[in-house]
Amino acid sequence: MIRYIIRRLLWAVVLFFAVTIVTYIIFFVVPTDPAFELCGKSCAPDDIKRVKHYWHLDRPVPVQYGYFVKRLVVNQSLGRSFANRQDVNQIIAQAAPVTASLVLGGAILWMLIAIPLGILSALRPRSLLDRTSMTFVLIGISAHPVWIGLIFAFLFGFKLGWFPITGYCDVFYPPSGTCGGPVQWMYHLVLPWATFAILFAALYVRMIRANVIETMNEDYVRTARAKGAPEHTVLRSHILRNAMLPVVTMLGMDIGVALGGAIFTESVYALPGLGKRTLQALETFDLPTIMGVVVFVTIVIIAFNLIVDLLYAWIDPRIRLA
């Protein structure tokens, strides 16, 4: 077990280098001069040169990458933003809780929708409920989150006025003069959560339904019935216990995908999360911020995958990590 974790962590280091190197290369392949963008329109060539030197942009790319790694390893620092010299660690620390609120809340919401709907559809295939939920699935998968977000904002925010259209409220320590606290936090996140959850809820309804239907036909379910087990025991202890195993794996992997999906939702509702920050950074060629987000998200995904693998070994007796 310990050996397995150590091996996984070593792989994580390799993965980390691969991801950051690729990001660096992509950034420098883009045919533009970051220093020119940073300095502004009225800069003289000398000024640009100074800016270049200040950010080490006049050094070869591998050396720059070396600086980046050294800073990260020695100082645990992601550097300062090209755009406004803000500490990137701080940018991430401010943006991550917003994205975490969105993604984790969204994940809870999509599971709350997907588990009952998936199971009920599987138990009554071809029923009205099943057909309705499959229609929902089709819409959820086909419609783009940006479109759903705008429709929700228009309908529930603007027309009906039930929920705020934009903005984020800190749950614990709101800056003075802004909204805050759990209620405001949730109130502002209802629409983003709903928007964010629909795509994944749709995917998960379909997956859970398929898993449950498949498991219902397993021989051991027939064995359970042959024992005289009542239907609710058969469902809970024999069907769901097995059908939910792959869902755990999927959930762990999809949290990573979801971080990417958060970009759309954050843009629509103007949430100051990682996705929005990344978009801003891309527009201003702010390499340190982009790298910061990449590093942070990579670590989160690696951590989630590790947790899921350990969790899986715990809930499925057939899996032993070695």
Partner: protein
């Protein structure tokens, strides 16, 4: 009164292609403590017959009629709740594939204990566990005290089938239905499982319905035999009768296709053709398209199950004259006797 009396049992499945008559009017009975062998090819309806008795067919798309009376209970028309009380308690079942018949995420012990607790509210968990251990020992699981907390994947196929047998017998059932219990096992394990079942039948006194396509299994275990073909019973007799005076050409085909130790043949004898589609069973005798003795009447009229001369209990469904049958049987048996000698 027999322990189980099945009368004119019919199980039809509604499919997109039409109605599949998987079991079409089957009648037999099982006496207390006796073993009934049901023999036939894959798809002849032998498993469906037993699943119907147990009420384990999917409700959807299934039409069932006829009677199955077990100790005065009408199993087919019973409320599901009451049927559940009988299932796993008074009638239990062993399935064909032990590799998939146990739940992979629960320990063996838990699955055995579950079988006890479902039917006994007054039994504590530790009593149930003790009973589970007792049964695991009875079916010959070595180091049962330790293995009771193992998961199914930690057992071999033969050991899993022993666990299934333990689970089936744990509530002392009056009737045990074994649906090809040895088909998925290798030959040496097959023999162990069969002798185990014979021994346990003596210890527990359960009646057994042994479903199989293997006449060797029937010879070893059964008291009475039912030969099924295309959803119908074609011949029924006590076990000796089937092997010494078989009456139906299909039974001859089954006996003739047994591998022989005394002859070196390239190819085993086979019954030509395929089992008929149960969507559109053949007119007349259902075996007529494959029968080497087919006559005109066979294609028009389905014969009744009629007793053999001098033996009311030995019945078969065939138009052939008694003289032809006797001639063919003696030919067939002389070949088999040669092997025995």
């Amino acid at each position: 009164m027999a322990l189980l009396e099945v009368k004119d049992l019919k199980t039809y499945f509604k499919t997109d292609d039409g109605i599949v008559k998987a079991v079409d009017g089957v009648t037999f009975s099982v006496e207390k403590g006796q073993t009934l062998g049901i023999v036939g090819e894959s798809g002849c309806g032998k498993s469906v017959t037993c699943l119907t008795i147990m009420g384990l067919n999917a409700k959807r798309n299934t039409i069932t009629s006829g009677e199955a009376v077990f100790k005065g209970n009408y199993l087919i028309t019973m409320a599901p709740r009451q049927l559940r009380d009988i299932r796993g308690n008074e009638i239990s079942m062993i399935f064909q594939d032990p590799m998939t018949s146990l739940n992979p995420v629960h320990t063996i012990g838990r699955q055995l204990v579950e079988a006890v607790l479902i039917h006994h509210d007054d039994v504590t968990k530790s009593q149930a566990k003790a009973r589970a251990l007792e049964l695991l020992k009875a079916v010959g699981i070595p180091r049962a005290e330790r293995r009771v907390d193992d998961y199914p994947h930690q057992f071999s196929g033969g050991m899993r089938q022993r666990v299934m047998i333990a689970m089936a017998l744990i509530n002392n059932p009056d009737l045990l239905i074994a649906d090809e219990p040895t088909t998925a096992l290798d030959v040496t394990t097959q023999a162990q499982i069969l002798s185990l079942m014979n021994k346990l039948q003596q210890d527990f006194g359960s009646a057994i319905i042994m479903i199989t396509h293997d006449l060797g299994v029937v010879a070893e275990t059964a008291d009475d035999v039912v030969v099924m073909y295309a959803a119908r019973i074609q011949e029924e007799a006590e076990v000796g009768g089937v092997f010494t005076r078989p009456q139906h050409p299909y039974t001859w085909g089954l006996l003739g296709s047994l591998p022989r130790l005394d002859q070196n043949v390239e190819r085993l004898v086979q019954i030509p053709g395929q089992p008929p589609s149960l969507l559109f069973p053949p007119r007349g005798c259902r075996f007529n398209p494959r029968c080497p003795y087919v006559m005109n009447i066979c294609k028009e009229v389905e014969p009744e199950l009629e007793p053999a001369p001098g033996n009311e209990e030995h019945r078969s469904r065939c138009h052939l004259g008694q003289d032809v049958r006797e001639r063919e049987v003696s030919k067939l048996l002389s070949g088999m006797m040669a092997e025995a000698l």
